[in-house]
Symmetry: C2
Subunit: 226 residues, 2 copies
């Protein structure tokens, strides 16, 4: 941050334009960030998640989501290094565990049906990992990473509701087979933790990590619409 001084008065403070890069193709993450006043650039990492997981020896879930978030931010940093003098690159990973088992995207209607049969009326633990790399004046200067856990309490949709939800296509491509911010919202009784984390990017965790690398969220806010 630097100051513009007119006469003897300190008048305006500016942060040189910092580019916020979201290393994820998730439209839900982009939507959360935009609603919260950011205008992210999206650069997809193309990280081989299975290879990252295989490189770790029996990782705890928190270690795995953090390692995947770090790998994604690192890959995008490799892509972008030298292109923009000031930026923060944010990598994200999310996993859901139900009954102690990590579950991914169901992908097929059959898998989504099984998923809902086993999780209806129960709770799940949504784990999110974020990693931030800071570039200042063209040089990599700081990094920070962290994880956050949120409990999700699933409702008990009827067979007809589950079939209609699956037919909508929404649950197939998302971790755990549910969307909190879509039609799935009807079937989630509540959460204990951060709602943005469940959607895919935790705003309070991202704020803490940005602070660690010397950036305030308000410096990244776009001008309000009003």
């Amino acid at each position: 941050m630097f100051q513009v001084t007119i006469g003897q008065r300190r008048t305006v403070e500016y942060l040189p334009e910092v580019r916020f890069v979201l290393a994820s193709q998730s439209p839900a993450r982009l939507g959360v960030l935009r609603s919260a006043g950011f205008d992210p650039s999206v650069v997809v990492s193309g990280v081989d998640e299975d290879a990252v997981a295989a490189s770790l020896t029996d990782p705890a879930p928190v270690e795995l989501v953090r390692a995947l978030a770090v790998a994604k931010a690192e890959a995008v940093y490799e892509t972008l290094a030298g292109t923009h003098a000031d930026m923060v690159i944010v990598g994200c990973d999310s996993m859901l565990s139900i009954n102690g088992e990590m579950v991914g995207k169901p992908l097929t209607p059959e898998a989504a049906r099984e998923r809902w049969a086993s999780m209806a009326g129960k709770t799940g633990e949504l784990l999110t990992g974020h990693s931030i790399i800071r570039v200042e004046n063209g040089a990599r200067t700081k990094e920070a990473s962290g994880t956050e856990g949120t409990t999700v309490r699933f409702g008990t949709p009827s067979q007809e509701e589950i079939e209609a939800y699956i037919a909508s296509g929404e649950p197939l491509q998302v971790a755990g087979g549910f969307t909190l911010d879509g039609r799935g919202g009807w079937f989630i009784e509540g959460i204990d933790g951060d709602f943005s984390s469940v959607i895919g990017i935790s705003l309070p965790l991202t704020r803490r990590l940005l602070t660690e690398v010397g950036v305030s969220v308000i410096d990244l806010w776009t001008r309000p619409a009003s």
Copy 2:
């Protein structure tokens, strides 16, 4: 719901088109419902909230939010009676209590500043009331109402963050002076309860009330975009 039979096969089930009427001008409530697959009609009630409150003798907060939700649905029913054969009208009211005190919209930057000074780092209780009136074949047939409480854990924004947030205008016109689904999301550490309730309309509570009046949420879903 009725069935169309072709030959001996039951082929398609239809619910005659039910109009979902949101008796609220809140764009946040409309946004939650649209994201969750509904296409509501908005009809604003114009209810005098102070008069409703004054008509009750020392009401508990849950009684008050329920009474206000009922008054809004009733007012819109009076407006719409006879215009549409099949509809559900949903009235909503929300209140936030912090340190045992009910708080409304701050309206001014000064009030928003005081609000955040007193609630930063603390928890609040967001109370939501909903009321539904069902009209079938032109006649009023059923009604249901209920309330839901959610705990909100506020973060500790810096002075600069609070000033920038107030300058955005977002917190002035919302109960409690915070937006979970906007820039305020950076400053909410988490919730315990239903996130849609905090935004203004609880999807799981609305689903339960719709079931009570004989309507399934999936009958009100629009065709998926995909």
